[in-house]
């Protein structure tokens, strides 16, 4: 099944598409500037550090530490009501430079006892609509 999210990004936000394509292949990829070598996230059309405009998409290990989180119990958007309560985390990736990603905590039916700094690991969750999300769990 193909990801509608990816197809939509290819048209509306091409600079994000390689990341989403990586998710469909269960790979975490981020852009690395071809000029200055800095990783950047979220992907932008120009390098945040040097302004260069080409990048090498690089696979990274899906590991990091918990930077912050919120567990949502009430939400206005109807598509998320069936999964409440759910937790959204910001993870600081294990890389030589500070890079963070936002993602849902993988749901296990147990509300985890989270602490900032907890070691986290990435996995991939395929939704019923075919989209694939990079989600996180304590490791």
């Amino acid at each position: 099944m193909s990801s509608k999210l990816l197809r939509s990004a290819e048209v509306l936000a091409p600079e994000l598409a390689p990341y989403l394509r990586g998710c469909t292949q269960e790979m975490l990829v981020v852009p690395r500037c071809n000029q200055c070598g800095h990783y950047q996230f979220p992907p932008r059309s120009l390098c945040r550090v040097c302004g260069h405009d080409t990048f090498a998409w690089t696979q990274i290990a899906g590991r990091g530490s918990l930077y912050s989180w919120t567990t949502t119990h009430r939400v206005s958007a109807p598509e998320f009501r069936p999964i409440t309560p759910y937790t959204v985390v910001v993870v600081s990736l294990d890389l030589p430079e500070e890079l963070r990603m936002v993602g849902r905590l993988r749901q296990t039916g147990i509300v985890p006892d989270l602490h900032i700094g907890d070691a986290m690991t990435c996995s991939f969750e395929t939704l019923t609509n075919g989209d694939v999300l990079a989600v996180w769990s304590p490791r």
């Binding site: 509306l12 919120t70 949502t72």
Partner: protein, 389 residues
């Protein structure tokens, strides 16, 4: 203390009723608030030569025919978001001080409860590609969720407590009991009720979140001063206003320092422009979309050091009678959500000494902050007539 002479003054303010269901169109609300503000200023519609519509639900053209505004009027739109109330002052001030206009009308109107729920506004914010493709799929979609993430981080780094957030909510509600125009007037809130309220998104419970409101607010600024006509006591000087952004304004996740926001730089600039410091401010209207945002902004505006807002509010500082009464009208949390323009109205009433039971005695300088969209921020400093050196 030395101060520069204010060149722009707030001459008039006007509001409609704040309600859950106005039963009126946004255009009708805007026109009513604009008329009230012009009456308050002692000016006529034909005097208006600049219009700054705020909030995205109302435009200058909606008012030209209804109010009879001159077709040649200059109009300018601040960007959307909660910072736009105070940011509208920067635009009006620039038009006035450059000589392009003499009388500027700022107007906000929205049926924010009955018509367009405030949460739907997020689809008009900058950085939509990040919202749509990186955040929304995970269910990270609302301001309460974005800001709770910052609150959690602050709690971990500085030991900030839920009890400090409660103090903000209870203070705003107590102040609203002195404001008959507040939506929560006559509806006091106890610590027990606060603690028992449903969880929205941790650490925010129901009463950590602002109201949704139908209503309109208008503010009239001018470089004319009424004191020449013997009625200057109600003019309120705009000592300074500055607006700024955090280092990555379209993305929170990869902002290097989550606490270094637009207000951090805007406040330093505004205090410098005005030649006063945080210690000279008698009352502050802080953009209170959620309780933690008040704590965060007290720190970044310089009213207390970073990390010490918990102790500051627990000292009683932000209550009437404290060292810095905050949101004496009840704020977005208990008066109503008018995108912060109502904070300017309350600051003006305090500087005119027309705030009735909630008047801060002998107040001469008021600060107003704006906050929105992951950290855009602003600070305005208003002064009682005759305060300028």
């Amino acid at each position: 203390m030395t101060m520069t002479r204010p060149e722009t003054s707030v001459l008039g303010v006007g509001t409609t009723q704040f309600s859950r269901a106005s039963g009126r169109s946004v255009r009708s609300l805007a026109a009513a608030a604009a008329r009230a503000a012009l009456d308050d200023a002692g000016l006529k519609v034909v005097d208006v030569d600049a219009v700054v519509p705020v909030g995205g639900a109302i435009f200058c053209d909606d008012l030209v025919t209804t109010l009879g505004i001159n077709e040649t009027v200059v109009d300018a739109l601040p960007p959307p978001g909660g910072n736009s109330g105070v940011a509208s002052l920067t635009i009006a001030n620039a038009l006035l001080r450059s000589g392009q206009a003499e009388v500027a009308l700022i107007v906000f109107a929205r049926n924010g409860c009955s018509e367009t729920r405030i949460a739907t506004r997020v689809t008009s914010l900058p950085g939509q590609q990040f919202r749509t493709f990186l955040e929304r799929p995970h269910g990270w979609i609302s301001p309460a969720q974005w800001y709770s993430m910052i609150a959690r981080r602050h709690m971990a780094e500085y030991g900030t407590t839920k009890s400090a957030m409660a103090e903000v909510a209870l203070t705003m509600r107590a102040h609203a009991q002195l404001n008959p125009a507040a939506m929560m007037f006559g509806r006091p809130l106890s610590a027990e009720q606060y603690a028992a309220a449903p969880m929205v998104t941790e650490p925010y419970q129901l009463f950590d979140c602002c109201l949704e409101t139908d209503g309109a607010v208008a503010v009239v600024l001018s470089t004319r001063i009424r004191s020449r006509a013997g009625d200057g006591a109600r003019d309120v000087g705009l000592l300074a206003v500055r607006s700024s952004r955090p280092e990555s304004p379209d993305d929170l996740t990869n902002r290097k320092d989550w606490f270094d926001v637009g207000l951090t730089t805007a406040a330093a600039l505004a205090f410098n422009d005005a030649g006063v410091g945080p210690q000279d401010v008698d009352t502050a209207m802080i953009y209170d979309c959620f309780t933690f945002e008040v704590l965060h902004q007290l720190e970044e505006a310089g009213f207390c050091p970073r990390g010490e807002s918990d102790r500051f509010v627990h000292s009683g500082a932000i209550r009437l009678g404290g060292s810095l009464p905050v949101n004496t009208h009840g704020g977005l949390l208990s008066e109503g959500h008018l995108l912060g323009l109502s904070h300017i109205v309350e600051a003006v009433r305090q500087m005119r000494h027309e705030a009735g039971a909630r008047q801060v005695s002998s107040a001469r300088i008021a600060a107003v902050t704006g906050w929105g969209d992951w950290g855009d921020g602003s600070l305005a400093l208003l002064a009682k007539s005759g305060t300028a050196a």
